[in-house]
Point group: C2
Chain length 556, copies 2
Amino acid sequence: MSSDIEIARAARKRPIAEIAAKLGMGPHDFLPYGHDKAKITHEYIAGLKGRKQGRLILVTAINPTPAGEGKTTTTVGLGDALNRIGRRATVCIREASLGPNFGMKGGAAGGGMAQIVPMEEMNLHFTGDFHAITSAHNLLAAMIDNHIHWGNELRIDPRRVTWRRVMDMNDRALRQTTLGLGGPANGHPRESGFDITVASEVMAILCLADDLADLQDRLGRIVIGQTFDKEPVTARDLGADGAMTVLLRDALQPNLVQTLENNPALVHGGPFANIAHGCNSVVATRTALALSDYVVTEAGFGADLGAEKFLDIKCRLAGLSPAAVVLVATVRALKMNGGVKRGDLGAENVTALKDGCANLGRHIENLRGYGLPVVVAINHFTSDTLDEIAAVQEFCAAHDVQAVLCRHWAEGGKGAEELARIVARLAETGEAAFAPLYPDAMSLWQKIEAVCKKIYRADHVEAPPAIHEKLAEWQAAGYGHMPVCMAKTQYSFSSDPTALGAPTGFTIPLREVRLSAGAGFVVAICGEIMTMPGLPRHPAALRIGLDEHGRVEGLF
Amino acid sequence: MSSDIEIARAARKRPIAEIAAKLGMGPHDFLPYGHDKAKITHEYIAGLKGRKQGRLILVTAINPTPAGEGKTTTTVGLGDALNRIGRRATVCIREASLGPNFGMKGGAAGGGMAQIVPMEEMNLHFTGDFHAITSAHNLLAAMIDNHIHWGNELRIDPRRVTWRRVMDMNDRALRQTTLGLGGPANGHPRESGFDITVASEVMAILCLADDLADLQDRLGRIVIGQTFDKEPVTARDLGADGAMTVLLRDALQPNLVQTLENNPALVHGGPFANIAHGCNSVVATRTALALSDYVVTEAGFGADLGAEKFLDIKCRLAGLSPAAVVLVATVRALKMNGGVKRGDLGAENVTALKDGCANLGRHIENLRGYGLPVVVAINHFTSDTLDEIAAVQEFCAAHDVQAVLCRHWAEGGKGAEELARIVARLAETGEAAFAPLYPDAMSLWQKIEAVCKKIYRADHVEAPPAIHEKLAEWQAAGYGHMPVCMAKTQYSFSSDPTALGAPTGFTIPLREVRLSAGAGFVVAICGEIMTMPGLPRHPAALRIGLDEHGRVEGLF
């Protein structure tokens, strides 16, 4: 079979106006970006209020392993398959970050015959959304130092400015810097640093905002640091919210592209899945729901992190309610969860597979705890044996869940038609009764405990007194109603990345909490979180270039 | 009369496909960006080789004063006027930088009835070119520190890395920084800083590149610093040129927009006019020449800096040859050159005006020295008196140059028809015999002296021995054939910004020289050059926001 990039390049793309027309849009309802990308206009979206909403399907996965699960691939395959069985379906996924593509191998949007195109543009500048976020974030940073420079009327404590700068680049040298050096004309020297753009709170805000007015409100609520009296200082105090909104006006409009089978896909927003909630934008999801029978979307990492945040943050804040959940697993990843090393994955090992199914089982229980019907998608690899597949299906049957073998990677939507029929049946029988894990009124600490104990199955949550004080302070300051956003290793239910399967008898250590007042959540960090990646010794950038036809080489 | 932004918003824009069709392009010869912007594809441009070239008209000006000259306005007005008198004319100007719009009042593309639209997008992200330049520049920076971090095989001396980072933002706190702090995982600490994106050598390179292959060659030639043995290290040594080219692939395609009178305008590239050459891209100018009878373009600052660089750098390197030059002057600016203070400009002062004409006269002489026919455009202000206008015309007549009163600001192209007819006559009689000021073979020092003595009329050029050594070193290293790029105050022929008119008896002090090996010139700095602006005490960002209709307020 051809590589992802070869398949993507050979795609018979339809003009984007034709894809837009499938969704009912006329030529002035979208802004073209080239012939294969478009933004849906704010005006058109405003006119969709009150439309009948389609059904929302979440695609999530077991804990990720190096073996690969194929969550995006399944999302795309299911979208195409739903269209094949007569449902108008739109896929909603996140945008890729530019920086990491120059470090390791670039990211495809799906894989095999289940991809979204144009792949190259989506891995480069696309429609400029991330650049707009970088600009808005850094304008606020410049306005902070400028305010301090010109007399510091707000009495901002330069030592307590928490708002850093961002760049969409893997650049470890920028993690920790001093700035404002060189004398009075350059401002007050202080320590700071850069994060990668996807880690910006502006990114999370863009992805949770209802519309431009809500975007500006949220931007205004960003807390950038404290005064000398330890009072919070917001972007609104600095007068930055209006200008930031102007910079983000176009970026808030969702991007329309297409699958290899010429079905619509909205690719919009891309917040980190650790210190942020890791889902595509609310605006895109809502727009797709108003234009389709089905919207298939995915959440970051495994279900313990990604689905939890999708449900407890995005769905809660946006009033969304999924109709069913697809839990993606592979035989290979389940075997790794059962103790098999990566080099041994080629050999059949039903015993290890059955052990690894404990991971799958816990995710099934968790998802059902949200009142959602679940189907397991076994994303097929050619090395899977019949006995292995049967073992997964038996495990699922014992948990009263269907497990469907899917071949969308090799066959496109055709290979996921059975999955699509089951999803449609689960969704259309209306058995979903979504309820988030915890109520808004619960305290921030109790919310953290609820996720750690009910989802991760920890015995205890440990936190130093300073964290309890911070949470109590935010509780008192009126942030107590917010959901919590857990930043934990994605490889395990626990905080130990090597504890695969379904570990028990562990404690979650809380290291740090952060307030994302604009996004509307409190981040609870349970481990080291890297917000500015570095380039490897031999970065992909060394191999990236144009071939003699002007096509991109080495990006994939 | 309405404000520029009101006029721009009321513009009856035609769909960009229609503007493209005026130039002979079909729907697949350009990439739309919304309905009013497009990029002309590399493929289409490659197919233009061998086409008959139109005539190139340069619009330049006397030394700028706070009174305003209206160079861009005249460029646009002349373009529209040429179309009115039956010549297919395209306007070529630079793109605006995003950052400064959040400091002072944003920049319009022209003014009054002689503007290019869409103004808002052109002052914000436009088609993303500057963001792409920022990314390419900063990828190289990240690769430098990454190379040093992973063993420094090239033996780069971290103390001698001259390649900084860039951001399209006015942010004084970034002028001088340390980076790589925080321990071994974050690399080697060193001093560095940020420039604004328009000051990037990548910007100058994009504007001088012939095509993608030449772009990559030039990027590869960038010198980023020295080894411990003081040997130059290039972007090619680091393997960054391919990936940088990929990031710039779309950005190299010129942007098509329109004037208020629906004539085509290419707005592409925007290098600094001090440490770089200050002209729109070669690709845009060549493309316009292949598609039009006339191309009207402008150069930065006054003719001493802007026209000199346009002719000695851009035209020399790109093999372009202008057919005529329009020298823009205003009665107000000439009076300021004659000693009138800004507050007194409202009153008639023919004596001061005649004194100030010395500035105009010297620019006329200089431009004729290049073998080019010149016409003076008097950009009309309502406060101009008949006697003042007559005085300018008499002065020009004595210099055997026509001076035309132009009312394009108030009347659009109609107000510049007389200018257009004169320009067409000068251009079509073919009297232009362009020759640059100095030959390639002259030494770098002699080239600097040639500009200072023949254009500025300095008696001497002074430079410390270190500069002479640097120039000799570059001469020996094979860079001697390059033109020089002068960075000097734009307000005077001399290096003293208060010496208006036509000063004599002065020395030009050379403070610094820099090698822009990729762009292909040696920068000679004669004064303080600020490559990262700061925000003012009350930045425009405080007033910028969206109104209730989602329109941008406060940007203009």
